[in-house]
């Protein structure tokens, strides 16, 4: 299976090659164990090359912008590309020239999901109702990124308001999977995942309400991190389901996703649901491979969730997950099978809660104060037309479901019951995580499927969220990282492994993930699809 993997042909033409070859802190020149060297942190590489004067922020930015120009017509990851990238990069170079201190994200090119507010830059959540809307403020996560020197490359495509698993529900465009342009990148943060996979940006922000960071990370072969609910401020994230939404991170390595996560984590007085828990220094977890012991994860207890490997999961995904488990064992982990009895209840509960909250959260899009207003003779007509024309089909369906679930007489049977299920799920996870350091499962029941394949079968699409929604209901941190390839597309399709940790124990996930990634032999998760690029 792995033999189908082609070396990335087109990418060799692009400046990326030079960055990848430069010396790095992480696992530098340690490719003795494999033909393909372990993936290297783009954030650390950038920092090194900027500090050494090997290159400039402007040069790096130009190389990424040219890659965007070349690949974007096929991929359509971005809804908007910033006009200020080079100007921002110049400022970084000026700081370097003056010998000023550089933020940890200096010169790092970051894609931001379109439902995260960026001041003065279009932020539409891929919805017609917010077409051309430019927020007057930055989301807290974006503000932090900018303060640390990060450069926002642009706004990435998504399913409208985060509702979807394929990014086909964008009001504006369909994003292609860089591994196979005929396939979906997953969703709803499909643009953010695909952009990182295609190296259009180094890292990106997504949002995860029921798997919207993790599932596209799996489909696109990148690392996706969904932090604990409350770890990252939601201020400036356009709410889909407030009790489930979190801002998450994409990177081509665990270290990149972890460092971006560190940058945006922490209490925010503008979000009362953000946590005051200390944010540990994740970076110390990203040791280079030279420092690994023979069994670097010795004694780490890993529970593999039995219910995630049962019927309905593709055999390729199942075997990739089992191989990943064996790899963890080889690293010293103690593997056991755990059962979460409430597992199958999560999906319906999730769709009731998420739809209910979204029906309320999307009430503000009424065409009165901002966004698209359709002029009408009287008030109700104004609401009807503005919302009728502004929202897409999937959004309308979820608003209707949620409105129904919250209606008098149905509340107890749906919303309240779903909350009871949520309590059960939390309890089951808690018990399993008392016995284990982390839990593992596939990130999705299959690899990326064809564009249009599930478009008219919402239930089939919803079923694809079964691996991820429970984690949101429990509010736990989880990371997806590529663990193997299955057949499909020109050169195989990536499959992600999901690692779930205890609340606020992101550190452990990053540690295990990083060691797993650096020691995984024989795989390089760089998509070949850029072959179409001349």
């Amino acid at each position: 299976m792995l033999s189908t993997l082609q070396p990335p042909r087109s990418l060799s033409l692009l400046p990326l090659r030079r960055l990848r070859n430069s010396k790095t802190i992480v696992s530098a020149a340690s490719s003795t164990t494999s033909v393909i060297s372990p993936p290297q942190s783009q954030i650390l590489t950038t920092r090194r090359s900027l500090l050494s004067g090997e290159t400039t922020a402007v040069e790096i930015a130009k190389s990424y912008l040219s890659r965007i120009r070349l690949t974007e017509p096929q991929l359509k990851c971005f809804l908007h590309v910033s006009e200020n990238v080079l100007k921002d990069a110049q400022e970084i170079d000026q700081r370097i020239a003056k010998g000023e201190e550089l933020g940890p994200l200096a010169g790092v090119l970051i894609g931001v999901k379109d439902n995260i507010c960026t001041q003065g830059m279009p932020s539409t959540a891929a919805s017609r109702i917010l077409e051309h809307y430019r927020p007057p403020f930055d989301a807290t996560a974006v503000k932090k990124i900018k303060e640390l020197g990060g450069i926002v490359v642009g706004k990435t495509n998504m399913d409208e308001f985060g509702m979807g698993s394929t990014t086909e529900a964008s009001a504006f465009q369909v994003t292609a999977n860089p591994w196979d342009l005929s396939r979906v990148p997953g969703g709803s943060s499909g643009g953010s995942a695909a952009a990182v996979a295609a190296r259009q940006c180094m890292v990106s922000l997504g949002s995860d309400t029921g798997g919207s960071v993790r599932q596209p990370a799996s489909f696109c072969g990148v690392v996706g991190f969904k932090p604990t609910y409350g770890r990252v401020s939601r201020f400036g994230l356009m709410a889909y389901a407030s009790s489930l939404d979190v801002i998450g991170c994409f990177g081509s390595t665990v270290a990149d996703a972890g460092m971006l996560l560190h940058a945006i984590s922490g209490y925010d007085r503008f979000d009362s649901t953000s946590s005051k828990q200390d944010v540990p220094e994740f970076q110390s977890q990203f040791l280079s491979m030279d420092h690994f012991e023979s069994k670097p994860l010795n004694g780490v207890k890993v529970g593999i969730i039995r219910e995630t490997l049962e019927d309905g999961v593709d055999s390729g995904v199942r075997s990739a997950t089992q191989e990943a488990a064996s790899h963890l064992e080889a690293l010293g982990c103690v593997l056991t099978e755990v059962s979460l009895p409430s597992f199958s209840l999560g999906l319906p509960a999730y769709y009731v809660i998420a739809s209910s909250e979204s029906s309320s959260n999307l009430s503000r899009y009424d065409g009165v104060r901002y966004g698209n207003q359709v002029m009408a003779e009287e008030l109700n007509k104004l609401y009807e037309c503005s919302r009728g024309e502004g929202f897409g089909g999937e959004v309308k369906m979820r608003i209707l479901m949620g409105t129904y679930a919250l209606s008098a007489g149905y509340y107890d049977a749906y919303y309240k019951r779903a909350q009871q299920v949520r309590t059960l799920i939390r309890k089951d996870f808690k018990a399993a995580l008392e016995q284990n350091d982390i839990l593992i499962s596939p990130a999705a029941p299959s690899a990326a499927y064809k564009i249009g394949e599930k478009k008219d079968d919402p239930l089939a699409m919803y079923a694809g969220d079964i691996m991820t929604v429970n984690v949101n209901l429990a509010g736990l941190p989880a990371m997806v990282l590529p663990c193997g390839l299955v057949e499909g597309g020109p050169s195989g399709l990536p499959v992600g492994l999901q690692m779930i940790g205890a609340a606020f124990d992101e550190e452990k996930l990053l540690k295990v993930g990083h060691i797993f990634e650096q020691t995984l032999k024989g795989s390089s998760f760089v998509p070949p699809s850029l072959a179409n690029v001349p």
């Binding site: 400036g236 979000d271 209910s356 609401y383 008098a408």
Partner: protein, 550 residues
């Protein structure tokens, strides 16, 4: 004796109360004076002007007969706008009367991505009011979303409290003014909950368009829901009045009805006396004066009773009616088709509100003396109910009065000075008691100076106005103006002898039976003493001299 003297020199003492009583009776106008503010004198004139007579008074005795067979059941929802510096969920300033849309931010505009953060003052005020209304507090309460579409509601939902309000199960005690029959009442309080206000719509004159002003959006409110315990317009108005008074005593709101800081919606139904189940409930809105509450209810009772009486009870439907101040009647605003479904659910953007026992205790300890406690205390001091209600009505007046008696002034005298001359002065000058220069200490000094005979009551009244306007001390003024009362009988006798001897003609008339001339002599002597002669002593000596057989 001093009391008597005091009164003789103050012929207008009760004129203020007297006229207002008449006015209230004539118009069936609820007592604005006893409830309305001392501070907002500008509104008083409007409210106490003669009003059109409510239909109840129009109709014949037949209506009264009909009304006798029915009982009204009235409950009130009161919205109290809190006087916090900032709004409930953002840091915008909470200013009434700012230029439209100048006190707004992404949060209160409901921009995408904005989140609410609770202002802790709102909780504090909620606890204060809950305790003041003798409620049980929920140590763990939460916010919920109440959902409906309207252009003044930026988020499409109002953040409110649904099934777990911060306070519930309380009561309020109040006294009905004597002119309305008097008596003590206790009305149940169902609940007090925290919520945010909506913005305002400004409709164009042509009706072509409306504009939205979001300055008020997100301003904190406490909604107080009463039990359906009231039975008349007067009771309802007195209840509303007590809510205003308590809010002002607690300092949680200015309680100003004209600005909408205190808004009352009335629910009313009537039923034949003896019937246990309630009749069909009608809601009345747009009640922005206490008098309007009273009159709207009386109108509504008559309207419903007549419909009952004419066998048209089915025409009483669940609806919202609007009080029209001009026409003095209620009109249908909207008929409700069943219960509106607000699809309440817990607000996921805000954590639960957890109150610790220590927190509640600390607030309980910081509560001021409340109106009911004050009234009972004043009553126990021996003041009549009229005085009690007057003094306890306005928290500033009550505090002033308490300060005066705290300085040792006699209770009844202090009450009289405040209720008569000072009240009249405040009214004329359109001032609040907080604006006057006379300190409670000096008023106590003034009262003491009269009581111990240092100065006469007449002199006291004269210098009062100077003290009110300019301040200064009583002692200083007495000294500077040489106002000490003449209480030396020898000195007074000298003046008496002089005046009597200078008026032989009048003396003759007096002795031939025109004894009313005593007043003339007294006036002349008082004039000679520059008002300083002790009137009692003066009269005593004068009588002796006049009646003495030479």
């Amino acid at each position: 004796m001093s009391t008597t003297l005091f009164r003789t020199f103050q012929p207008n003492q009760f004129s203020l109360l007297g006229t207002s009583l008449l006015r209230r009776r004539r118009s069936n106008n609820f007592s604005v004076r006893s409830c309305g503010s001392q501070t907002t004198t500008t509104h008083e004139a409007k409210q106490s002007s003669p009003t059109r007579v409510a239909p109840k008074n129009h109709k014949s005795n037949k209506l009264d007969e009909i009304l006798r067979d029915y009982e009204a059941v009235i409950g009130i929802e009161t919205h109290v706008q809190l006087s916090t510096l900032t709004k409930a969920f953002c840091s915008c300033s909470n200013n009434y009367g700012s230029y439209p849309n100048t006190s707004i931010c992404p949060v209160c505009m409901g921009l995408p991505g904005a989140l609410p953060v609770l202002n802790s003052k709102v909780v504090e005020f909620g606890v204060r009011l809950g305790l003041a209304l003798n409620c049980d507090l929920s140590l763990k309460s939460k916010f919920d979303r109440k959902q409906y579409f309207y252009p003044d509601l930026p988020k499409g939902y109002q953040i409110s409290q649904f099934d777990i309000p911060i306070a519930s199960g309380g009561y309020v005690d109040l006294d009905i003014p004597l002119e309305f029959g008097g008596g003590h009442r206790r009305f149940g309080i169902t609940r007090v909950h925290m919520e945010e206000d909506a913005g305002k719509l400004l409709h164009s004159d042509t009706g072509d368009y409306s504009q939205v002003d979001l300055n008020r959006a997100g301003v904190p409110l406490l909604e107080i829901v009463s039990e359906p315990d009231m039975r008349s317009g007067i009771e309802a108005a007195e209840y509303a009045c007590e809510m205003q008074r308590i809010a002002r005593y607690l300092g949680v709101s200015n309680g100003n009805m004209q600005e909408g800081s205190l808004r009352c919606d009335v629910n009313i139904s009537i039923r034949p006396i003896g019937q246990a189940e309630f009749g069909t409930k009608v809601e009345i809105k747009n009640l922005n004066a206490f008098s309007a509450i009273s009159r709207a209810i009386d109108f509504e009772i008559s309207r419903q009773a007549l419909l009952y009486n004419q066998g048209k009870a089915d025409q009483i439907v669940t609806e919202t009616r609007l009080w029209e101040e001009g026409a003095q009647k209620t009109v249908t605003m909207r008929k409700k088709e069943g219960l509106a479904d607000y699809r309440y659910f817990p607000e996921p953007d805000l954590p639960e509100v957890i109150l610790t026992k220590e927190y509640v205790d600390s607030i309980r300890a910081s509560l001021p003396e409340l109106p009911e406690a004050k009234r009972r205390r004043y009553e126990a001091m021996g003041l009549g109910m009229q005085d009690v209600l007057f003094l306890a009505n306005d928290v500033s007046v009550a505090e002033y009065f308490d300060a005066v008696i705290g300085k040792g002034a006699e209770v009844k005298l202090a009450a009289n000075w405040i209720m008569s001359d000072i009240a009249a002065y405040l009214k004329n000058e359109k001032l609040s008691i907080n604006d006057i220069k006379l300190t409670p200490h000096e008023l106590a000094e003034l009262i003491a100076a009269i009581k111990d005979g240092t100065i006469s009551g007449k002199i006291g009244k004269e210098i009062l106005f100077e003290l009110l306007a300019k301040g200064g001390t009583v002692k200083g003024m007495i000294k500077a103006k040489d106002l000490v009362q003449i209480t030396d009988p020898v000195e007074i006798e000298k003046m008496v002898i002089q005046v009597v001897s200078e008026n032989p003609k009048q003396l003759e008339q007096y002795r031939s039976g025109k004894t009313k001339l005593q007043g003339y002599f007294a006036g002349q002597i008082m004039k000679m003493s520059k008002g300083k002669a002790n009137p009692g002593l003066l009269n005593k000596i004068l009588l002796e001299k006049l009646n003495a057989k030479d």
